[in-house]
Symmetry: D2
Subunit: 463 residues, 4 copies
């Protein structure tokens, strides 16, 4: 019997009975984890169920509209940095995706809404054609919001007709593309929120995206280092639902025994790092990280503000007092590594994260207008905060899995061409759309990126 990966006695004695059960699950002979959560009809998009596809299409598209509708026209137009995009552009680009990859090739006689949208709303698909410069998306004042919304309605109508015309299901190739389009739109829902958070943050009035929400800071728990055996494990997506190509193929890899922190690093812990001169000592920093700290004169995470001696944090609910039990957020890879070094630990690899994550359900506080911010850990032992608070930086550079193949055509540009100079983040955040997360999900951003809801989970080699 080859045990692949399960919690062993780590640096903590607090393992609860819940864990023992999970432990048992992970020692079963299948050597594979339960896929149950991914079959949940509520959350995940199933390309092969026509009704599911229709239902998801309308709910995903509606959510994007709801997000945008909470913003003024000015808010929706702003691009506060080259990496961010205006809300307007997100609305149009996600629509363009369906028009370009479904309606144009598969609906005979379909007439595009506007020839110029190919140039304006193509993000990075060179196979489709040239694109308006990314850093200048905020310059496009026309088409205005009214035309963008008309565009959405026109494409939604055409997609509805198309989906309804095949009540027994579409060819797999097409339904997979639609599922890709919906997952793609969910990614843009999260980006819409992170981008507008940045857009609002440059306003000295610190306006709120959702003034009625709040940041709950109650709770917290001791940080335990939970042990896992590792071994020759399988990593990557296995199941029948949707996944991105970068989660494939499922493959074997060898993982040494390791410990993973039971919860995320909190604001309070990170404050100690700051207070200990963390941003003034090169010793804990990667070389590129230290260059960044010096060049940008950084002394605390993005969105932290010290005003009149008080530490505040800009959130989607406005400027709020920094709560110690809430996970630290909006740190980049450099900051995450420096903190880990200071704490005498390291970041996990993505393989470690993935095999450990299988011991918990795919549950968490996903996008919810009442609290668009990570929450304090619960006052209990065991692995928590894996999904729905912050994306967690791993020490793994983003690359293709063994056997990874870039798809033919424009869709092949979705993931593969970004496999250089980026780090993998795992989990999901408080602004990830419900139903979008997976244990095998691989998010990725350059090491300097701060504007995502990215935080820190510690790991270490098992002794």
């Amino acid at each position: 019997m080859a045990v692949l990966s399960y919690p062993i006695s780590g640096s903590t004695l607090k393992l609860t009975r819940v864990y023992l059960i999970i432990l048992y699950m992970h020692t079963c002979e299948t050597q594979r984890y339960s896929e149950k959560h991914e079959r949940d009809p509520v959350s995940a998009i199933k390309p092969d169920h026509p009704a599911s596809l229709r239902k998801h299409f309308s709910s995903v598209r509606r959510l994007t509209g709801t997000l945008a509708s909470r913003l003024s026209v000015e808010d929706q137009s702003v691009q506060s940095m080259p990496d961010a995009s205006p809300t307007k552009w997100h609305l149009a680009h996600t629509t363009w995706f369906f028009e370009t990859f479904i309606l144009k090739p598969f609906v005979p006689g379909y007439e595009v809404v506007d020839e110029q949208y190919d140039y304006l709303f193509n993000s990075y698909y060179n196979s489709i054609g040239e694109q308006y410069p990314r850093a200048r998306r905020g310059m496009i004042t026309r088409p205005g919001m009214d035309h963008i919304l008309e565009y959405r309605h026109a494409v939604d109508d055409a997609m509805g007709d198309f989906l309804n015309a095949s009540p027994d299901g579409l060819p797999e190739e097409i339904s997979a593309l639609i599922a890709l389009g919906l997952n793609h739109e969910q990614q843009h829902q999260e980006l819409l929120l992170t981008d507008i958070k940045h857009g609002l943050s440059v306003n000295p009035a610190f306006p709120a995206f959702e003034p009625r929400g709040s940041v709950s800071g109650w709770g917290g728990s001791e940080l335990e280092m939970i042990g896992y055996h590792g071994g020759l494990v399988h990593v990557g997506y296995r199941g029948e639902g949707f996944c991105f190509d970068n989660e494939l193929p499922e493959h074997k890899c060898y993982v040494y025994p390791f410990n993973l922190a039971s919860r995320l690093v909190s604001n309070g812990e990170y404050q100690q790092f700051v207070a200990d001169g963390g941003y003034r000592q090169p010793g804990h920093w990667l070389s590129d990280g230290w260059s960044w700290v010096q060049a940008a004169d950084v002394s605390m995470p993005l969105y932290w503000h010290e005003i009149d001696g008080q530490l505040l944090e800009f959130t989607l609910h406005g400027l709020k007092p920094l709560k110690p039990a809430v996970p630290v957020c909006h740190v980049n890879y450099f900051e995450a590594c420096a903190y880990a070094s200071w704490a005498g630990k390291r970041l996990p690899t993505e393989q470690e994260w993935e095999i450990a994550s299988r011991s918990v359900q795919l549950e968490g506080d996903f996008m919810n207008f009442d609290q668009l911010h990570p929450r304090a850990a619960k006052a209990r032992g065991g692995l928590q905060q894996m999904f729905g608070d912050v994306w967690q930086w791993t020490q793994s550079a983003y690359n293709g899995y063994p056997g990874f193949k870039v798809a033919e055509g424009a869709v092949g540009e979705y993931n593969g061409k970004f496999m250089c100079g980026q780090q993998v983040l795992r989990g999901a955040s408080c602004v990830t759309s419900p139903g979008h997360a997976r244990h095998s999900y691989r998010n990725f951003f350059p090491p300097g990126a701060q504007w995502q809801f990215s935080g820190i989970r510690l790991a270490q080699d098992a002794k």
Copy 2:
């Protein structure tokens, strides 16, 4: 009898009878030119007439609103380059000017509309306080258009009350400040149009500010070089109306005999320069100009487009065929100098321009929604196109006149601190507000600026 400045026989024999009369006027003993045009009650702001001030206040403020109202909220929010500002910002900044320099100091108990506006809408008055970074004005999504318009109304109401409370006139200090505020707002009316022209120009659809307008290209005339005697002349504003401090003091200077072109350089003439390799030969360019041509890979004026072999020009009425008789526009100082060198001529000094300009009335095609573009010269001899088509680059660097004093306080920052690295432009353009021009008016921009309605009038030393 000291002759100051009048047309002499230049390189042309076409002097008409009209000129002979003007000639006479300029040889009169007063050595000063008629100020009649500046006393025209329709056009110029008279700080010392209470009714005039009230009337001008409401008409100038109304015109700004009219300009903005032709744009969508998105259009009004965009900042397409650091030198340009969003329409929204122009609306707010001109309002802030009256609030800051009139209402706050002179209206007892006046409560500011929003404390933060000082930071957001102060342009460059360091004496007032720090400013939101100029290049980031487009990032301010809130206050939204609705609040900006409320701000305008609140300040207009308070100003109305203030003006009405003194039916017999305000102290000179205050009325002069109000006149300054109105002239300041007129400057921003022109900037609003040049800035939105640039904002729309970066859109591949080339949308029009005013689709119903047109570009008239009929007419044209031979370019004559009209002679002027020069001598020990007076330059600078003399009169009783409003002028900016940089037009003062009126002073003596010695001007050698010169010739000035009867009209502006036309698109057709400039096209010959382009066709002759003007942008590929360093010989005609200033050193900085040639560096600019190479670094920016320039081959024609801003807003010219060669599409399918046809030359087009982007205008506030959309993309239009380039008309040969229309004055060339949106050239910078480098281009103006290079053209003049190629043409075997030079640019005038601002003194030459000013003394020659006195031979013509202060008339021209100022801002007019039917044609927001310069017009072809009229088919007649004599000096024309001095006002109302394009600003005309002079070879004079912008500096203070002899005896120029920077005013005390924040208003002293209006002009003086820009007296370095800029060139003087004279005249007025087709988007200059009616009543804003003067013979002595000194506009100024850095030599690389292209986005203003700036063109070329040639000069040469008299033989």
Copy 3:
């Protein structure tokens, strides 16, 4: 019996008898490869043999001096880009290394040659103190060459005394540091050559480092894809000689069956990629790579020149006709990936490269003044050109091996802090110092780096 890694029938039938013997070696039960080559007394530095250390110390230090002596004082002073350093600086920095890490801590009463050298010649050891800005090293005209050579002699003398004073060997800690210093100096010998190659390349006269050398382009062979089994293999250094900390610890990892190209990609093959529009089609490029191609307007490798219709290559022997059979060189990771995509292959992982490399001896054309350039492949089958022609880009991002620990103190800054944003290169080049290579050696550079002798070896998944 667990076979780890050996050639299997790949896409070629040309496996020679030589391979079968090697194949046998690799199926032996030890599951480890022969370390014989690393025991060769001629080549590798053995910290634990006092005589070896003394001998290596003097030969390594002498070689650096020989390299520099072929250059004029001006050549030795130039820094042609921020990533390169002047020869002078290499001479001083490698000396500073011994002074700082051996003489100062371990020789009682040692007096430093110049207090300021710590600031001037410390490369990046923040634990030691601040450093003169890297990009400005070429600005330091004093100390001059005479003082730098005196510095070298003084430190060599003190090191000689120190080594001779312990004829029976130094404590392991110290001898390991000396071995590190010598390997460090060998790395700088290669950098000295790549840096001066760049320095000379910016001169329009294309001067030669060594005019008498030549570029041999005879030979060449068919490119075969040789198969390897993979499996659960060991990777990393195992042996008793010197290695860098980044080669440790030896560890297990799982490798899928793969094919590796028998030889490097040649100039002739790369020319076909160029001729096929390789630099004009985004489809084969990583996203960052395509941005680089466009921003830098790249159309061929660094040091290629098309002059009068002929393709030439700048080498350390001057400008030479490009020889088709010679390996392509000075390509960066983006170019290597794009070429591999165009060729329908991929780059190897560093694990694949390492386990395949064990089938060949640690032999090759290392630094040799007769030919400081890669050579054409030999006209035979089987794996060749693994060492001594060009470093070979792998698709592996540079990271710490499982269990990797950063050493305490300044020496800990040697490798660990660069583990972000760089790619691993394997093998060794024609300008690598003799005795410096290892099968487990991990070189690393950012993906955009071109100035190293870096080339391309293709791989693919086994079918």
Copy 4:
């Protein structure tokens, strides 16, 4: 009788008898000043005297060699910023000037020393051909110093033969070009010193160009404001010696009465400005100046260093304590204007400076290895320090005089194409070559330039 310009009773009563005599001279009817000093055979180059030309040729060329010979090869190779050039380049470029403008066109059969020198050592003459990028001149390690010196000797020999072949004088066109070449070389002598000063300044050891020299700080005098009448004056060169084209034509201009400071602003006075928060208050700065202060985080002049609480100044004799009576030096136009504003004064126009300067002899402490630094004012009244300490910023933008014509051909690029974006400096500095100054001399640099020996002389309108 039209008085043009003479001292009137200003803010001082200390006018000495010497002044009264000069006063008389300036009230003579000729309305022109004595040109005697410019006829001095020791100092100025007379193109029309064959013997003078030969003598000057050899002495000017020799001085350049002497300057370079005091530097190591490394010193001569460094280019520490784009605006500076290596000594080596100055040596070659000044030689290229004679080869290109004299030997090639006028010596039949002359063979150029090296075809490539045209590309390497042409500074900015586009008519001659393309140039190696200015900012990269320090990258050219070959030709080495040995070849550069051979180049100088070869050209000197050829020029010697050419000059000797025409004992009765050369055609005026040629002798004028040789005089231009010699004055050009003198300009480069000064640049050589300012450039190497910058080159040495970036070395933390602050090495001296001439260790034996010293900075004399004795003396000093009260600053008086001396009055001048102004009027309709003549400005520009009048005489028979050499002058640059930008000093021509002599022309009339009207100058209002003004006062000019009797001496330069001293370090001690400038220190008060610094201590008073001069660099922290925007009120005294030009807009571009304040941007520069903030962007570059400036708090004192270039080359000032505060070390252990003591103010030091880097000089060509090394780092020296800042002496209060010595003129402040290495300030740019922004600093000069800000100081003047703080002091309640202004900078002079170049016309004011020129007409005032005629009251003093063309004498001063020109280039002298004993003190390559400005000296304290003498303890006497009257106008002093006009020549030989520091160049003095004027408020005049650099432009062509009325009637200025750019010469035909490459020589026409000497001055004219720089007439944009630069300010005129008047006088001469302590590193100006003897015999190079003139009352009408117009030096010019961009407003941000600090590395020249540039200082401040105050002026004000006469009351």
